[in-house]
């Protein structure tokens, strides 16, 4: 029998993790798996057709929407509202956020106001917006803009606070003008925070878009969903919901692209 030698083994590995990588196709796989389960379940009957529409039926409804041209009729006003409202809200939000980040008096005056506005469910204010901006598009733009505004402001001034002050001092020491410092140092430095804030703000904008359309619009994805829902037409309801999800995915992908482009200096 060999002599029991000293215990030899590799040093246990304890590193790794905490560094998410981008893994391709897993996201798509999750979607496909869930849809496949729903399809098989509704076909075999262990999911009742009353509780969940069959994915293939939803797809068929989607096809009808496309063929009849209704898809575009609903999508076009929705996208316009989203674009106008979110652009307004985000641009005003970023400007105000930068001002709060830079000026003590503006900060002292506006931070409590923003804190007071943030938790208000913006939908509750829709009647007010209707009175102020009219029953048409104006009130919808305002609602979406307002909803995008608050989270954008909070994200932006946080991001401005986090800009490395030594870079600002450097700018001053080279005699850069105030505007140059803001444009070339503060805003690019705050850009990572602003973009991750926009991710949240734009998702909120989509939620508000649907809410606004449910409360009064002839065309629009929200109106379409509301109509389907009141008729308990689950296929159409889901077709509408899928459109919204796709919209969310597209917006999120667009922001990822913007991050890739604007924040190339980081990684």
């Amino acid at each position: 029998m060999p002599e029991p030698g000293p215990d030899i083994r590799p040093v246990p590995f304890r590193g790794g993790g905490f560094a998410p990588r981008s893994v391709r196709m897993v996201g798509a796989f999750v979607f496909v798996a869930l849809i496949a389960i729903a399809e098989i379940g509704t076909r075999q009957g262990w999911i009742s057709a009353l509780t969940l529409p069959r994915p293939s039926d939803v797809l068929a409804t989607f096809g009808e929407l496309w063929d009849s041209g209704l898809l575009f009729k609903h999508l076009q006003p929705s996208l316009t509202r989203l674009a106008v409202g979110a652009a307004l809200g985000a641009s005003i939000g970023i400007s105000v956020g930068v001002l709060i980040g830079l000026f003590s008096y503006i900060r002292a005056g506006l931070v409590p106001l923003v804190a007071a506005l943030f938790p208000i469910p913006k939908i509750a204010l829709l009647p007010l917006f209707v009175i102020w901006f009219g029953i048409d598009e104006g009130s919808k733009y305002a609602l979406i803009a307002f909803g995008t505004f608050t989270p954008t402001v909070v994200a932006t001034y946080g991001a401005v606070d986090n800009v490395d002050r030594t870079l600002v001092r450097m700018g001053q020491s080279f005699g850069l003008s105030w505007w140059s410092i803001v444009r070339k140092i503060v805003i690019p430095g705050a850009m990572p925070g602003i973009l991750s804030g926009l991710r949240v703000s734009l998702a909120i904008a989509i939620i508000l878009l649907v809410a606004a359309e449910m409360l009064g619009a002839e065309y629009g994805i929200g109106a379409y969903i509301l109509e389907a829902g009141s008729l308990y037409d689950l296929e159409r309801l889901f077709a509408g919901v899928v459109i919204l999800s796709l919209l969310g995915v597209v917006v999120s992908a667009a922001i990822s692209q913007a991050e890739k482009r604007l924040l190339r200096w980081r990684s």
């Binding site: 030594t166 450097m170 700018g171 020491s173 005699g175 850069l176 430095g189 924040l263 200096w265």
Partner: protein
């Protein structure tokens, strides 16, 4: 202060010197600087050494006009040289490069507000890149550069505005020892080719005796001038093993040791 310098390639273009007249400052109840009177002669490097927390950085911020002293005054004597875009120019310890701009972009940042025109701007950038040996890195982003390279970029950026006085706050202390040697050589070469005026704050006495025409020793907080040591040996002839310089370094260390020990204990109690 020093003997007239020989071997200059151009007629002197720096006409500006700085004078500090009994500058004192306190932050709240903490007295930081006491009655500092100094002259920074044109074309010379003045090193400032002193124990931690004695107010060196504060003094430099005041010289550069980023902060006001409670009392005393800081005077510019004479006009900045022709073509000077930013008379008092900093080089920071942590480089202060914009991570989203390339090397040439970072240097151009200092020029853009002066509306020099594209070609002039490009010429200046190319010129300082050449002087600091960075021409091959013009397009690189700061994150791709080593610490030594980053500080070279910061020095190039400072040279680009043709300063009357360069203000360097521990410019080499974030670098490893070998890189520090290389950058000191670079600074000596730069100065020998075209002398510049500089205030150079450092903790490192070897740096001070290598680069300083005059070395100002500050006492512990509140910082006051303990002694000004002048070294007349030309910069390009100094080297690390020179016994005369070693003696100067030893002398400086004697001056500072007790102050440094006391300052250290003080910080520990604070």
């Amino acid at each position: 202060m020093a003997a007239p310098r020989k071997g200059r390639r151009r007629t002197p273009t720096y006409l500006m010197e700085l004078r500090l007249n009994s500058v004192s400052h306190a932050y709240g109840h903490t007295e930081v600087l006491r009655d500092i009177t100094l002259t920074i002669p044109e074309g010379q490097i003045v090193c400032v050494v002193g124990p931690s927390g004695c107010g060196k950085s504060t003094l430099l911020r005041m010289i550069g006009g980023l902060e006001r002293p409670d009392s005393g005054e800081i005077l510019q004597v004479g006009a900045p040289p022709a073509g000077c875009l930013n008379p008092l120019t900093y080089v920071f310890q942590d480089f202060a490069l914009l991570p989203w701009r390339s090397v040439e972009g970072n240097i151009a940042l200092a020029l853009e507000d002066h509306r020099l025109g594209r070609t002039r701007e490009r010429d200046i950038v190319a010129g300082v890149l050449e002087r600091t040996g960075l021409s091959d890195f013009a397009r690189a982003l700061p994150r791709q550069l080593s610490g030594g390279m980053k500080q070279r970029v910061a020095i190039a950026r400072a040279l680009a505005v043709n300063p009357a006085v360069m203000l360097l706050d521990e410019p080499l202390s974030a670098l490893d020892a070998q890189t520090r040697e290389l950058l000191m050589d670079d600074l000596v070469t730069l100065w020998t080719r075209t002398p510049f005026t500089a205030v150079y704050v450092t903790h490192n006495l070897a740096e001070a005796v290598r680069l300083g025409h005059a070395i100002v020793v500050l006492s512990r907080r509140p910082g006051a001038v303990r002694e000004v040591v002048e070294i007349n040996q030309p910069l390009q002839n100094r080297n690390a093993t020179d016994p005369a310089l070693e003696a100067r370094r030893e002398h400086l260390w004697q001056l500072m040791r007790d102050e440094a020990r006391a300052a250290d204990a003080e910080l520990a109690h604070a």
